[in-house]
């Protein structure tokens, strides 16, 4: 005799089957290792490009989720890391594209993709236990960074903090490899002149 199935049971069965079909890209153990290695650099990248800690939190989680759902040809750590940064960059741009029509965003954004600073953001900018000179220097550094365009911040961060090659940067920010060098050069010169005008020097 055929068993009667209710609609909710059918839905549940279908959803479980779908969920089972959609296994993540890597298992939990590998994910944890990968996360420990990449979460902090990714958060810093998102935060320093957007200037918003809460947004960096959200986009970081979404980036990992999207990466896990991807079917990628390769699962080496370096390849995954670059792909993760690529997803995060796309999410950031989508966020800005949506935000351009939002009056609240317009009111808080400074025109270069930098967003309203929360209390937590302010704390991250000026930590405790620093001398007055260091605090001044760091706030000048931050201000100089805010004056750059989002793409310039992306390029500089990827090149100088992540140590990514021009080919990797071009994949992450969707630009031609050949155009990375002049763009990076201009961004670096702009940042350096902004810093020099405020009297900031090399720390080491």
């Amino acid at each position: 005799m055929m068993k009667e199935i209710t609609l909710s049971e059918a839905q549940l069965a279908a959803s479980v089957a779908d969920a089972a079909e959609e296994a993540f890209l890597i298992d939990e153990q590998s994910f944890r290792i990968f996360y420990d290695r990449t979460a902090r650099p990714l958060w810093s990248y998102l935060y320093r490009v957007s200037g918003n800690g809460a947004l960096a939190d959200d986009l970081m989680q979404e980036s990992y989720y999207r990466l896990l759902r991807k079917r990628l040809p390769e699962i080496s750590q370096d390849y995954l890391k670059n792909y993760l940064f690529r997803i995060a960059t796309n999410l950031l741009r989508d966020h800005w594209r949506r935000g351009k029509n939002d009056p609240v965003w317009k009111a808080h954004g400074c025109g270069h993709g930098f967003e309203h600073q929360t209390e937590r953001d302010q704390q991250a900018r000026i930590p405790s236990g620093l001398t007055e000179d260091s605090i001044h220097q760091r706030s000048e550094l931050q201000r100089a960074l805010e004056c750059l365009k989002p793409r310039e911040r992306e390029l500089l961060w990827l090149a100088y903090v992540e140590g990514s090659s021009h080919r990797e940067i071009s994949e992450i920010v969707h630009l031609k490899e050949g155009s990375i060098r002049p763009l990076l050069f201009r961004a670096r010169r702009k940042l350096a002149s902004l810093l020099r005008s405020t009297g900031v020097r090399l720390t080491k």
């Binding site: 609609l7 279908a14 140590g163 810093l195």
Partner: protein, 165 residues
């Protein structure tokens, strides 16, 4: 050295990132404008990165994994119920369209019913009963069937909307 770069630029950046300066490189960085800019920019960004590493607390990997799983399951359930909700919407749209069609098609008869009913309302209860009987007698069985079907469809749509909410 060319306009956009210097061959020692990579070494300078690496020195800033890892703190592996030597005297020759330091002298070069002081003289070369490209390397000086690169050193300054890399130094600033490294400092900000160090600041984030020490000041910010992030959720652990387990929590992110669990949230991702939850989200994937929710997305799967949404996809599974999508055909059902589409059928529901199509059914509602068809019902409304058929009701409008029927109203237009039988408008003269329906307006006649209403006229009779309104006449009855203006009179006493006996007359109302009388006019209802008249409506019943004047209507052909097909109209009564259609009206009943409409009522049934509207109740069903109302029920579906209510359960959805």
């Amino acid at each position: 050295m060319n306009v956009c770069g210097c061959e020692k630029e990579a070494l300078v950046i690496e020195a800033v990132r890892c703190g592996t300066w030597d005297d020759a490189l330091r002298t070069h960085a002081a003289r070369c404008p490209v390397c000086a800019d690169a050193a300054l920019a890399a130094d600033l960004l490294r400092e900000l990165s160090d600041l984030d590493n020490t000041q910010v607390t992030l959720p652990n990997g387990g929590l992110i994994w669990w949230k991702a799983q939850l989200k994937a399951k929710r997305a799967a359930a949404e996809r599974a119920t999508q055909p059902i909700s589409i059928v529901e919407k199509v059914f509602c749209a068809c019902s409304i369209l058929s009701a409008i069609g029927l109203l237009l098609w039988q408008w003269s008869s329906i307006s006649a019913w209403f006229a009779l009913l309104l006449n009855g309302l203006h009179m006493n209860s006996y007359s109302l009963q009388h006019s209802l009987v008249e409506v019943w007698e004047k209507s052909s069985p097909i109209y009564i069937l259609c009206a009943s079907a409409l009522l049934l469809v509207f109740s069903l749509v109302g029920y579906l909307v209510w359960t959805e909410q």
